[in-house]
Amino acid sequence: MFYIDPHIHMISRVTDDYETLARMGCLAVSEPAFWAGFDRGSVDGFRDYFRHLTEVEPRRAAQFGVQHYTWLCINAKEAENVELSREVIAAIPEFLDRPNVLGIGEIGLNKNTPNEATVFLEHVELALRHDLPILIHTPHLEDKYMGTRMILDMLADFPQLAPDRVLVDHVEEHTVREVLERGYWAGMTLYPVTKCTPKRAADIIEMYGTERLLVNSAGDWGPSKPTAVPDFIMEMRRRQHPFEAIQQVVLDNPMRFFGQSPNFKLQLPGQGASVVR
């Protein structure tokens, strides 16, 4: 089954993973900017990272027929440094016309601090200025509930921001309802231990339906599995859910959300022309 992995950090993965994803039916990946495992020392460190996301990864992906898209920002963890964050936010427009950039992300909160909230708000302003969609990271574990509610409170202060231009990622059982009820897209991250499992993601789809819900592997340098989306597909098939329902979650929904970006032009296999839905 063809699918899109809407959140995966290919910079941390080996080239073999691209080949495996292609064999599994992955047509495209989207890679939000994130924490490198260490705090970068300067705005030029981010410029190099953005070059990697917009030059190196698309080339690596293309070798296997996988299309690579990306989102730019300074992540919530490094946002604790407000001065550096402001320099990075000022540098991001240098990269926004690169052909694989979809929008601003993954912005959000990590430990729910005032500095993180400040930088989050300034990223939302940046996205609005450039009329781009937003991909949002919600905090881990015990901070997720409070952080998700704070993010929703802050988004509500932007009446000019259309909810369907925003994807709130890493939702779980206790945060998904609020996100969907307010009209945002919701992403479920399939992790072995700390987020959703393929089974629990399938449960959430059974309870909330297939509208505006996405699943991703968020594969990175930590314990994660780049083929987690196919695991979810397997779980849905095991439960004998209809093909159309599965395809909506793993292909149609990412296409609809990403399709709001002028740069998203998914090439379906066997189709010369690009299609945007």
Binding site: V82, R86, P114, N115, A117, T118, L121, L141, E142, D143, K144, Y145, M146, R149, M150, D153, E172, E173, H174, R200, D203, I205, E206, G209, T210, E211, R238, R239, Q240, H241, P242, E244, A245, Q248
Partner: protein, 90 residues
């Protein structure tokens, strides 16, 4: 699209051995904590585990969501009052 509910008996048929295996795993985890040297009586995480086990033995629905909330910091609706955005340099 809303999905039609799965048949409960078929779901039990498919899940029973997995549920049994995970209950055993959990029982053994708790035994291991008991066998260890020292006391965990004052560790707040032990209280969370005990609360979560209670939720499992209650009737549904929404047990997964309730367990999530046991392991979550509470939402403070007044949070903005303590959060002044860092002023922008002029």
């Amino acid at each position: 699209m809303q999905l039609t509910p799965r048949d409960a008996a078929a779901t039990l048929e498919r899940e029973f051995l997995h549920i049994r295996a995970r209950l055993l795993e959990l029982a053994a985890d708790l035994d291991r904590l008991d066998r260890g040297e020292g006391t965990l009586r004052d560790d707040a995480r032990m209280k969370q585990i005990a609360q979560a086990l209670q939720v499992l033995s209650q009737r549904g629905p929404g047990r997964a969501e309730r367990v999530q909330m046991i392991f979550s910091r509470a939402y403070d609706p007044q949070w903005k009052e303590q959060f002044r955005p860092v002023p922008k340099p002029r």
